[in-house]
Symmetry: C2
Subunit: 720 residues, 2 copies
Amino acid sequence: MCSICLPLFAAAQHPVTFFTRSEAAELKSGINKYPLLTDSYQEIRSQVDAWIGKDVDVPQPKDPAGGYTHERHKANYTLMFNSGILYNITGDAKYATLVKNILLKYAVLNPTLKKHPQATSSSPGHIFWQALNDANWLVYTGMAYDLVYNSFSASERKTIEDGAFKSEVDYFTKDLKNWFNLIHNHGVWACAGVGIVGIATNNKDYVDMALYGSEKNGKSGFMAQMDGLFSPDGYYTEGPYYVRYAILPYYLFANALQHARPELKIFQHRNSILQKALLAGLQQTNIDGTFFPLNDALKEKDFTSNELVTAIDIAWSVYGADKGLLTVAKKQDKVLLSKGGAAIAAAIAGTKDIPAYYPYKTVEYVDGNKGDEGGVSFLRNGKGKDLSTLVFKYTAHGLSHGHFDKLNLNLFDKGNEILTDYGSARFISVEQKYGGRYLPENTAYASQTIAHNTLVVDEASQFNADEKLGEQFHADKLFSDVSNDKVQVVAAKEDNAYKNIHLQRTEYFLQIPGGRKIVLDVFNVNAAGEHQYDLPFQYSGNLISTNFKYNYNGSQQQALGKNNGYQYLWKEAEASVKDSMAQFTFLNHRTFYSISSLIKGEAKIFFTRTGAGDADFNLRREPAYIIRTNAANTAFVNVIEIHGSFDPKAEFSADSYSAVQKIELLQNDNDITVAAVTIGGKQLLVAQCNKDFSKQSKHSYTTFNWTGPYAVWYDGKTLQ
Amino acid sequence: MCSICLPLFAAAQHPVTFFTRSEAAELKSGINKYPLLTDSYQEIRSQVDAWIGKDVDVPQPKDPAGGYTHERHKANYTLMFNSGILYNITGDAKYATLVKNILLKYAVLNPTLKKHPQATSSSPGHIFWQALNDANWLVYTGMAYDLVYNSFSASERKTIEDGAFKSEVDYFTKDLKNWFNLIHNHGVWACAGVGIVGIATNNKDYVDMALYGSEKNGKSGFMAQMDGLFSPDGYYTEGPYYVRYAILPYYLFANALQHARPELKIFQHRNSILQKALLAGLQQTNIDGTFFPLNDALKEKDFTSNELVTAIDIAWSVYGADKGLLTVAKKQDKVLLSKGGAAIAAAIAGTKDIPAYYPYKTVEYVDGNKGDEGGVSFLRNGKGKDLSTLVFKYTAHGLSHGHFDKLNLNLFDKGNEILTDYGSARFISVEQKYGGRYLPENTAYASQTIAHNTLVVDEASQFNADEKLGEQFHADKLFSDVSNDKVQVVAAKEDNAYKNIHLQRTEYFLQIPGGRKIVLDVFNVNAAGEHQYDLPFQYSGNLISTNFKYNYNGSQQQALGKNNGYQYLWKEAEASVKDSMAQFTFLNHRTFYSISSLIKGEAKIFFTRTGAGDADFNLRREPAYIIRTNAANTAFVNVIEIHGSFDPKAEFSADSYSAVQKIELLQNDNDITVAAVTIGGKQLLVAQCNKDFSKQSKHSYTTFNWTGPYAVWYDGKTLQ
């Protein structure tokens, strides 16, 4: 297979992984010119200078994340990397000496290491509890070594390369070969680590394994990861939280390859897939910069995280200036000490009126490396701080970090999460909380279907919460139209999550004349026999009012169920409703939201709150509104309104009531669904096709005629 | 009693209530100079201009707060006031006409009004559901009338004075005489309203009633309110949330009196009590500007509220420039169109480096108009965004807005509320939530003792939650020493809250060498017989770990009790502990906090959460840690630590464990209490006197000797 392997390095110049000598020289001249570069330089310098002349501990690995040895080793690789940068900028040998002294300690320690005593995963680390952290160490330590390479004697190099690096690389590419060859964010880190060390140590074998897998056959390795983990439009299959993480090794290794193997044209690979990945990642953030919490995600992570600083600064130097990136870089308020970082610092110093928000727009991404495994739509309406985003997910599973949430819905408004996704159950880096790892409740609750906003059949999760099964399937988009900001429509289906049950959901994100934004949510379900259907809306806010009576379990309450996440929900209140419209209003920050639900036949409504079964206090306490009905074929029609305002400082509120007066399902069969909503005395009429999604087909309902898969009328006229 | 009444107005010049003609002229010249004044002017102008030439609705009163008629009448008085200001600045008659047309409608409406249909209080309003809002209307409408007085004909004046104002003033000073004469924030508003209308309409009778009560005997009225509601150092007896509200009518009426009755020297009255009140109000805010939520308080209110804009702008013109006020004014980001507002806008335009935070310091206020009714201490440690504030309350009851919370403790750190106070249960201005009024849960839960952080005896609230009884007593400070930032001590006692039970609590806010801040909290209780004692710590954050085993009520949970607020607490978990130190750690934002509790004999610990019994979803869901023991005489010793850091973005945490290893009560009798805390291997020793608080008395415990009421040693040396 060595036809795809490339020749040896023409000339092994150093540094070459993070920046080259000429780039460093160019950068140096900007340090006194551009405030952001000056600050970033001073920050690194004060951090590193505090260690000059001191003995840096390289302890025997012992603790999980959050513990001393974990945090020390993490701090060590950052310290070495930063010191290496300073060595090149200042030329001061003390920075090289600092790196050398630490590396020599690792050269002694690493060959002695076995499986970490706190290891629990199938890919245990040596220095850290999981191999993933060892890969982080390789990435930064590899760059640090390269940055001070020129200061070492040949024998020092040999000591370090054989001692500090070889045992780690061998461990990855031999003992953990299967893990190393995974097409997964761990694999990206592992390959980047081995590849950067390969470039730093002039080891072609390492680089080839990194690029093409341990067998060098191209079935795994970095190139396969470039091809396999992104869809053609840049959607990362594990979701936005994990593209944030993976984008760092992708960009750092690509940056090193650009210098060391320019003939790969790595940044242009697959129509510049790394650029698409970055921009798609940024579009998948809320206006406060936090990544939408699809799949396993911590909600604190935003685009000012270190990974995005690195990716954006490299992207700027590779793909050129970009106004949107400038907005993000300004919020990051620091830059890399690199060519791109210097260019961004110069641009920020020279640009007035950098927009306050990233240029968000409605986007729809396909999933799967061929783009044929469903996708996800982000429907947007509004400007600046008033932006609303409706997230509709019909992707593939998302590898080991995926949740069982096909056809899930989330709503963000004015920077706040309104219809929520729990994200992941984890206190990252907090030792007391299971060593900072994913908590048991992540699997037992957060990834279960009931923790989301999509249909649960018979109190079981989609695919019976079997990851392997879930990985085999994906949902599919049926049609969408986002050409008009005021009428955005997406329909998708899922046929495999529950055996022999067809799920089909259509989202209409509409702006009603007069300014009120509403989501009309039509969820069709078809089964051969009767099932119990639960449609939950996890919401964030305080219940203000309901139009139905409920029983509040005031002195004693019980869990809603026993399994599949239900055991974590307290049943705070329940109601029996019948052939009506159930409506409830809640308040989040300064805005009111109402959900109006068509109730066909008999149904129950539950108000729940997480906390049952949570013996270790691992979950946040969050409320949900759940509609339960028993049926074979039915359609849930819900209207979600964004309305009014609440100003507790000025003691003023406006439009605190829902304007929805009536919901009717006028027709619902295999061919079409027609729903009517009376809003403020006027009728909103929505018709959609359930089988024929052609843009040319003509349809009719009573006196209404339309062409294509859907139509929306308001007050007798086409809404537009 | 007319010896205290003053002569008629020398010459009835207008305007005179809000500003004078010459002040308006001076102000006008600044509008194009100072950006903040320009913006404030433009904002008012665009609001008012939108109504020019339009017919403004003056509807028949019908709705409670949040409803249309309520909000319309509120908007009307603001509109008239602002239009009156613009008339004086621009000289454009259209602004006077706008005011006149609205006033003429009120002149027709007001004489027809009876008790508002939504009235529920003992002081019903006419235009609004409560008379308090009618008083607001009088204050602003009175100023509006005065501002356009010169544009009216004599007959228009008569129509408006007899129609719009007289019926309201008569209603206040006759029908609601008792309420009008109250020494209470309602009374301040009522007197300010009647007084400002009196000045605006040249009605000496109105002004005299406003100043000296409806009987003009000085036992009530504005002067009595200046003397009665503040302590000599400016503490307002209803607490900081209500001084925010009352400060507005105090300042507006005083401002009008300064012009109309300069001989009163109202701003110098009682050693400039209005200045002290304002500065004390500002010291009683958190670093984000929110008022500490003592008594009935909404947590959203901060010093950028309209009331504080008004007070600060007037104070600046009366008492002169003040750097601290400039910081607040900058955050308010708007000014009054007044002499003071213009001066502040000029100062902001001309001052570089306005500090980011108000100059907070440790302050102790006495309560009661003579200063002999207990008080409250705000102990502060740290700078800027790292400021910590310990609030220790031993005040009088606080009139109708007081809570049953003698010897209550709250902790704020880095802008966050750590040991919390529920504040009040209310969604102000939200019609669906009981018309925006205080909710039933405000009395039933938020004001009860268990909702606070102080001792509950036998599951009953202090004074059996009887406001009249509570009003008769106050706690007392025993001693305090705040001369050293690192060792701040306050002790107080309460002997009336529970019959024949002596409560004594001492707070030590200490900075341990190495940087950790701790609170040592010693709560002594003495009774003749055995009682059940509950000491709750309401905390904000997520439980991270405990050093004791507990039973989590995972599939079913019950309320902790049936009465006195206990019925609102879910019992999430409970533990039995004995002769040990119980410890739990929680995380709030980016910092860890631990509470370590000495357990003498047998005790129970409960983890609770609000929500039980809350059938209308009126309460937030908040957790507490409650220590329960049965005893006659005992001392609770708790150590509250602020420690470590959590950075989920950088995935790093540090010092996430408590450093407290042991707590011992070495001696505890009528004379002295000596407690020892082992922290990180070193001993903190605290000795306090329980009877003799003289600064000169000498005491000893084993080999330790000290002078005065307390001593603190760390690692064998006096802590300082």
